[in-house]
């Protein structure tokens, strides 16, 4: 049921017409944006914290190879195993191999956007393994067979009635007459069902919010505690992570944690922060595997999109984006929606994501709230320029801009053209507005154009003089 990034406009249209979705998206302001604002106001020098966070992430990118090697050495020294994967297919095969060697069948999963990025669950299922999502939001969408719609709140687009329906359909062993219309009851039911999965799992896969090179540690941040039950109970724990997540040491993690939780949910810290260096499973002979995934990240280094690698996946940009607020995450048809997706996807995925950097007004709110000061609109513009140079922009737009630029560079021609245009528009007006024009369908599909005065400013100014 994965949407296609090329069908963005049709998917956006469907989203705009979805009243349930619109009501769910209204929570972006009240639940996320306002909470973040309170947390920022309560911190004092939040701008200083952002500067510190940016400097830490820039240092990581500038020293990425060295930090990854140091990280690997320290993980291995403490009994872990490090694997490197160039792309999604390699990562899938590595993980499958680890699971097969461990004789694993049921695999619990902590929330991992990277695992969505590589399509891990589908790959495991087609190889007779049973992945069970344990983050409540991920569990719900796994039952509904749909992808996450938000980077930190996968089921953000749903109302509790839809969750109830998914639970009733899936938890068939439970009493069909049970009352399930309260959030608390839904959470309790998920807790009970998933506890069984936690105990039975042969292996656990989590992501990592940060990798700390000096200590060889992976850090995961949850509110539910599911990440910890995923990694502690089975005999095999696999951490799947992008290579860009590494920082120098745990002091760097401290700064980024302060930024992450405030920017994401307005919390000063999440309920659980787990720092793991070495096998942590409680059964004897537990194994700890780190899978480092590139999948297009390294090739962004040294380009005008490099700063996107600073991202700590807080989703503040999504929460403040007026386009995301209007259409939600599924319309993008890619793992990472919203402004970070718009800045990342043309590099990570390619030209099929043309619409992502284009469906933006460059309002700049995303850059304003980004905890590590990624210049998101600047990066989106860079992708637009690349697409333009590659001839991938719509032909009509290229032609139109060509005509406009031709005139704009020739003042006398421009003034003449403007005189003609303003008169033509005035002539076409009825009751103070132009109601339609054959050439600019995009404008007139939803708006009138207020009638112009009928003479240009330049000609009126000259007349005055």
């Amino acid at each position: 049921m994965n949407a296609d990034p090329r069908a963005f406009k049709a998917q956006a249209r469907d989203a705009l017409n979805d009243a349930k979705l619109k009501s769910a998206l209204g929570r972006l302001k009240t639940r996320f944006a306002l909470k973040r604002q309170e947390a920022v106001a309560g911190y004092g020098d939040f701008e200083g914290l952002r500067q510190a966070g940016r400097a830490i992430r820039d240092y990581s990118i500038a020293n990425l190879d060295r930090l990854l090697v140091t990280f690997e050495r320290n993980v291995v020294a403490r009994g872990g195993v490090v694997h490197w994967a160039r792309d999604a297919a390699e990562a899938q095969e590595i993980i499958l191999g680890i699971l097969r060697d461990a004789g694993a069948k049921t695999v619990t999963k902590g929330k991992s956007m990277v695992s969505e990025e590589i399509g891990l669950n589908a790959h495991l299922e087609s190889n007779d393994m049973i992945p069970v999502e344990t983050d409540l939001g991920e569990y719900i969408i796994q039952l509904r067979k749909e992808p996450p719609s938000h980077i930190i709140a996968p089921a953000f687009h749903l109302h509790k009635e839809q969750v109830e329906e998914a639970f009733r359909d899936a938890h068939t062993a439970l009493d069909p007459n049970r009352v399930l219309n309260e959030r608390q009851a839904l959470v309790a039911e998920a807790r009970a069902m998933l506890r069984t999965s936690f105990e039975a799992a042969d292996a656990g896969i989590t992501g990592a919010n940060f990798l700390s090179a000096a200590e060889g540690a992976a850090v995961i941040v949850t509110n539910e505690g599911n990440g910890d039950l995923t990694r502690l109970l089975p005999r095999t724990h696999i951490v799947l992570t992008g290579i860009e997540k590494v920082v120098a040491d745990l002091d760097d993690v401290a700064v980024l944690l302060r930024l992450l939780t405030r920017s994401a949910t307005g919390q000063e810290i999440s309920s659980y922060v787990s720092i793991m260096s070495g096998p942590t499973g409680e059964r004897p002979g537990s194994a700890f595997h780190i899978v480092l995934l590139d999948n297009g990240r390294s090739k962004l280094i040294g380009t005008q999109a490099q700063d996107v690698l600073r991202c700590i996946r807080c989703a503040a940009c999504l929460n403040h984006c007026p386009i995301y607020s209007a259409i939600g995450g599924h319309a993008y048809g890619a793992t990472y929606p919203g402004p970070i997706g718009a800045a990342l996807n043309p590099g990570l995925i390619g030209d099929s994501t043309y619409h992502h950097p284009n469906a933006s007004t460059f309002c700049g709110r995303c850059a304003e709230v980004c905890p590590v000061k990624i210049p998101l609109p600047t990066i989106m513009r860079h992708w637009r320029a690349k697409e333009y140079a590659d001839g991938l922009a719509p032909k009509a737009m290229i032609a139109g801009l060509g005509v406009w630029a031709f005139a704009a560079k020739r003042p006398a021609l421009y003034r003449l053209g403007a005189k003609i245009m303003t008169r033509a528009l005035k002539l076409m007006s009825r009751d103070g507005a132009v109601h339609s024009l054959p050439l600019v369908h995009g404008w007139f599909a939803v708006r009138d154009f207020p009638a112009p005065r009928g003479k240009t400013f330049q000609e009126l100014w000259r007349e005055r003089a």
Binding site: K9, A12, L16, K29, P322, I323, A326, I327, N358, S360, T361, F362, C363, G364, R365, E368, T378, R384, A385, K386, E387, Y388, A389, A393, P394, M397, I398, L401, G402, W404, A405, A407, A408, K409, P411, Y414, A418, M421, T422, L425, A433, V440, H441, G442, W443, A445, V446, R447, D448, F449, P450, P452, R453, K455, T456, F457, Q458, L460, W461, R462
Partner: protein, 240 residues
């Protein structure tokens, strides 16, 4: 610097084409603020549509033209946060930090912030007995730090009350070519902004960027709404 600074008025293509009265209002206000205003005839466009679309070569050519035309002035003032923002915030990147581009950027301003922050204007003599709401354009707000200045001047307009929008920091959905490339999303964003404006009980919407205003006014006309839409320069120059 002479006692009466020479200001080059950057008219903007939309004002020139659609609402020349805004240009006249801007001149009046600048003269009231003690400036000598010149309107270069050779100006056309700031190049933002080309730059935002990634048509970099066009943007560079147009930017050089603007630099050539305007670098003789003490200040360059535009009745628009987005055009002023293009010159001030983006020309350095467009023209690769050329010293002439940096010099122009340093002396380019949006109109109301120029009047208040540079010329020290505290009040205007104007009358507009109505309840209005003020729309902050994203570029004005974020690129040019325009927020308090128009409000300060509007406070002095006789009979005018400004009611604040609940979600003033949210984009109206114009975004230049975005408004025609993604019309349905643009429509939703306009409707949210309009609903916010209507909820204030205002019967006039005032703003500093004509692009936003034409988009919102055009949408309101399509919906049969009767709220008046005016540029802040028109209100301040007593020329509504």
């Amino acid at each position: 610097m002479s006692a009466r600074p020479r200001v080059g008025l950057f008219v903007t293509c939309l004002v020139d084409l659609v609402r020349p009265q805004i240009g006249f209002a801007a001149v009046k206000l600048l003269e009231q603020a003690g400036c000598d205003v010149v309107v270069p005839a050779a100006q056309t466009c700031c190049g933002q549509p080309a730059w935002n679309a990634g048509a970099d070569r066009h943007a560079v050519d147009i930017a050089w033209q603007v630099v050539d035309i305007f670098d003789e002035f003490d200040y360059v003032v535009a009745p628009s946060g987005s055009c002023a923002g293009m010159i001030k915030r983006h020309y350095p990147e467009v023209l690769k930090n050329d010293p002439r581009a940096l010099a122009l950027a340093a002396k380019t301003y949006e109109l109301t912030s120029f009047l208040v922050n540079i010329r020290g204007m505290k009040a205007v003599v104007a009358k507009c007995p109505t309840r209005a709401c003020y729309h902050d354009s994203c570029s004005g707000l974020r690129e040019m730090k325009v927020r308090d200045q128009p409000r300060q001047l509007l406070k002095s307009v006789d009979g005018l009350t400004i009611s604040e929008l609940s979600n003033g920091e949210v984009c109206c959905g114009f975004g230049g070519l975005f408004s025609v490339k993604y019309p349905e999303i643009s429509e939703r964003m306009a409707d949210d902004k309009i609903a916010d404006a209507v909820a204030t009980g205002a019967d006039m919407l005032i703003g500093g960027d004509l692009g936003c205003l034409l988009h919102l006014e055009g949408r309101m006309e399509r919906q049969g709404k009767t709220m008046r839409v005016r540029h802040v320069a028109e209100v301040l120059a007593d020329a509504i």
